[in-house]
C-alpha cells in the first residue's frame, strides 16, 4: 500500500501491462502447441499401436505417455496465461484510474478558488483510489499460480536430466528383433542372424518396458487512434473526448448512453430547470454536481467516479466533482467550448457525424447548461485519455500531475489568445484538427468568441477563471 500519491503513482507507472499481455499470449501459445503436439503423437501411437506385433505395442507404450503429458500441459498453461492476462487487465485499469485521478486533480488544482488544504485532501482521496487499484493488481498477481510441470515421461535422456534411458531406442529395436527372431525361428536355420542384428540387441529391450511412464486501441478503421478504456471497453478519442461503445455507436457526452432511440435520459433532462444541475443526479449521485462549491466536498465525489459505470468507470462526468466550481473554466479552456457554445447543438452534431447527442437535442431552459456540461465532459475525457495514452506508453510526465489545458486550448482556438494564458504545460496534449469542431475559423485574427453577442449569457464564464489562476501548491512539487 503506497503511503503517498507519488509512491502510488510510481508503482502504477512501473506496470507494463502490454508486456504482460504479450507474455500471456506466449504462455497460451505454448499451451496450444503442447496440445497440438500431444494430439499428433497420440494419433501416431494409436495408428502404429494398431498394427499386429509386440514392437508396435512397444511404440505405443512409449509414445502415449509423452503424448499425454504434452496434452495435459494445455489446461494449466492456459490458466496461467489467463491469470497473467487478468493481471495485465488490472494493470491497465490501474493506469486508467491514475489517469483519471491525475486529470481530476490537475483540473481541481487549476481552479483559482481551490485552497492548498482542499487540494491536499483531494490528493489524499485520490491516493485511496490509487491504492485500491494497486490492490487489485496485487490480487491479480496472487492469482498467477502456474503449476510446476511434472517430469516428462520420457525414455531418452534430455538436456539437464539424469535419465536412465541408455539404449532407449533399443527398446523398440529389441522388441522387433525378438519378434523377428521368433518369426524366423519358424523357418529352417532359425533365423538367428536376423534376430541378433535386431538393432543393438535385446539387451536394451527392457527400455521399452521402462518407458511407460499473452493497445491501447484500434489502429485502423473509423476509430483509429481512439484509446480503449480498459474498464468499460469504450473507445475514447483523445483529441475530442468523444466516446464510442464496442458496437461502434457514439456515446452521449452527458449520459454516456449510446445514441439511438429516445432514452429516458432525454425526457428527464428536458423536464429539468436550469437552476439545478441535472448531471449530478444522473451521473451516480454526485452531490452537488456542477453546482457544488469548491473545496473538500467536490473532491469527496472522486470516490464516486466509477459509480455510473461500475467500478473505476470512465464515463462522462467521472471527474465532475472536481469541476464543481472550475468546470466552466475547464470546459472553455480546452479551446473548443466557445465554438460549441456559439454553435449550439449543431457543433456537437458536427462532432458526431451530424447527429446531435440525445441529451443535447432538446430545446429547453437547461440546454445551454447541458452544452456547457457536455463540453466539460468531453474535455475531461480527452484529457484523461491523453494521460492514459502517455502512461501506457511509458511517457507519462515526470511530475505527479500538472495543470490541464495550458497548451491544449491555444492550438484549437484558431490562434485566438484566450486560451493561451497558462502556457508552458509540459504534459502531452493532443489537439484535434479544427475541422472536427466545424465552426472554428482559421487564422490568428479570430476574435474571442466568448464575447460573441449572440452567445447565451449562461454560457459566458466569469472572466476571473481566465486570469492567471492559481499555481499548484508546493506539496505537489514533491509528487
Amino acid at each position: 500500500m503506497a503511503g503517498s500519491f507519488a509512491e502510488a503513482r510510481a508503482q502504477i507507472l512501473s506496470l507494463q501491462p502490454a508486456t504482460l499481455r504479450a507474455k500471456a499470449g506466449e504462455v497460451r501459445r505454448f499451451g496450444s502447441a503442447s496440445i497440438s503436439a500431444g494430439t499428433t503423437l497420440r494419433a501416431s501411437a494409436d495408428r502404429l499401436g494398431a498394427q499386429r506385433g509386440a514392437p508396435y505395442q512397444a511404440y505405443r507404450e512409449r509414445v502415449s505417455p509423452t503424448a499425454g503429458w504434452l496434452a495435459d500441459l494445455g489446461r494449466p498453461t492456459a490458466d496461467t496465461g489467463t491469470a497473467i492476462e487478468g493481471a495485465a487487465g488490472a494493470a491497465e485499469r490501474a493506469q486508467m484510474v491514475l489517469a483519471q485521478q491525475e486529470e481530476a486533480l490537475a483540473r481541481y488544482a487549476v481552479n483559482p478558488s481551490t485552497t492548498a488544504a482542499a487540494l491536499a485532501a483531494a490528493e489524499a482521496q485520490a491516493l485511496a483510489v490509487l491504492n485500491g487499484a494497486i490492490g487489485e493488481v496485487t490480487s491479480a498477481y496472487q492469482g498467477i499460480l502456474p503449476p510446476p510441470p511434472t517430469p516428462a515421461p520420457v525414455v531418452a535422456a534430455g538436456p539437464g536430466t539424469s535419465g536412465t534411458s541408455a539404449g532407449s531406442g533399443t527398446g523398440l529395436g529389441g522388441a522387433l528383433g525378438g519378434a523377428a527372431a521368433g518369426l524366423a525361428a519358424g523357418l529352417p536355420n532359425g533365423g538367428a542372424e536376423r534376430g541378433s542384428t535386431g538393432v543393438d540387441g535385446a539387451a536394451a529391450g527392457g527400455g521399452a518396458g521402462g518407458a511407460v511412464g499473452a493497445a491501447l486501441g484500434p489502429t485502423s478503421g473509423p476509430f483509429a487512434g481512439f484509446v480503449q478504456d480498459p474498464t468499460s471497453g469504450n473507445l475514447i478519442d483523445p483529441a475530442t473526448g468523444r466516446q464510442a461503445d464496442a458496437s461502434g455507436r457514439f456515446l452521449d457526452p452527458i449520459t454516456g448512453e449510446p445514441f439511438g432511440p429516445a432514452s429516458p435520459f432525454v425526457s428527464r433532462l428536458e423536464g429539468l430547470g436550469g437552476g439545478v444541475s441535472p448531471v449530478g443526479g444522473l451521473l451516480g449521485g454526485v452531490p452537488g454536481g456542477l453546482g457544488a462549491a469548491p473545496g473538500a466536498a467536490p473532491v469527496a465525489g472522486a470516490g464516486g467516479a466509477g459509480s455510473f459505470a461500475g467500478g473505476a468507470g470512465f464515463v462522462p462526468g467521472g471527474a465532475l466533482p472536481f469541476l464543481g466550481a472550475g468546470g466552466a473554466a475547464v470546459g472553455t479552456g480546452f479551446g473548443t467550448a466557445a465554438g460549441r457554445g456559439r454553435g449550439g447543438s449543431g457543433s456537437f452534431a458536427a462532432l458526431y457525424g451530424g447527429v446531435v447527442p440525445p441529451s443535447l437535442a432538446g430545446n429547453n431552459p437547461a440546454a445551454a447548461q447541458l452544452r456547457q456540461q457536455a463540453a466539460t465532459n468531453l474535455s475531461t475525457m480527452a484529457g484523461t485519455a491523453q494521460r492514459y495514452t502517455a502512461i501506457a506508453s511509458g511517457q507519462a510526465a515526470p511530475g505527479a500531475y500538472l495543470p490541464p489545458m495550458a497548451g491544449g486550448g491555444a492550438g484549437i482556438a484558431g490562434g485566438g489568445g484566450s486560451a493561451t494564458r497558462r502556457g508552458g504545460r509540459s504534459g502531452p496534449r493532443i489537439t484535434e484538427p479544427a475541422s472536427v469542431w466545424g465552426a472554428v475559423g482559421g487564422g490568428g485574427s479570430c476574435p474571442d468568441r466568448r464575447r460573441t453577442p449572440s452567445r447565451p449569457t449562461a454560457e459566458v464564464e466569469d472572466d476571473s477563471v481566465w486570469s492567471a489562476g492559481t499555481t499548484a501548491p508546493r506539496s505537489l512539487d514533491a509528487c
Partner: protein, 117 residues
C-alpha cells in the same frame, strides 16, 4: 483319450507372436515424428523470457514474476527432454522400418528358395 484343447488364438486368426512387417506404416510414423510435432511448443517456451520488470513494483509483483520464471524454466527443461525423446523415437522408428524391410525380404527369399537364411 481326450482331445487336447487348442490354444486360443486372436480373432484375426494370427498367432500371438505374429508380427506384421509393415514397413510403410513405420515409415509413415517416422515421417510424422521427423516433422517434429513438439518443435513448436519447444520453440515457444524456449523463446519465452519473463521480464520481472514488467510486473512493476506493486506488492506481490516480484513473487508473481518469480513463480512465472520458475514455471518457464521448468517447462523449458521438460520440453528439452521431450525433444530428445522424439528425436530418439524418430531414430528408433527408422530402424524398425529398416528391420521390417530386411525381414520381409529375408522371409520372401526363404520362401522362394526353400532355403532359409
Amino acid at each position: 483319450m481326450t482331445t487336447p484343447t487348442p490354444a486360443p488364438t486372436p480373432d484375426d486368426g494370427f498367432p500371438d507372436d505374429y508380427v506384421a512387417f509393415n514397413a510403410p506404416a513405420l515409415e509413415a510414423e517416422r515421417r510424422v515424428l521427423d516433422a517434429r510435432p513438439e518443435r513448436s511448443a519447444a520453440e515457444v517456451i524456449n523463446a519465452l523470457t519473463v521480464d520481472a520488470a514488467a510486473f512493476g513494483t506493486v506488492p506481490g509483483a516480484s513473487a508473481a514474476a518469480g513463480r512465472v520464471t520458475s514455471w518457464a524454466d521448468r517447462s523449458r527443461a521438460e520440453m528439452g527432454r521431450v525433444v530428445a525423446e522424439v528425436t530418439d523415437l524418430t531414430g528408433c522408428t527408422g530402424a524398425m522400418r529398416d528391420m521390417c524391410v530386411q525381414a520381409g525380404a529375408d522371409t520372401e527369399a526363404a520362401a522362394r528358395s526353400g532355403t532359409p537364411r
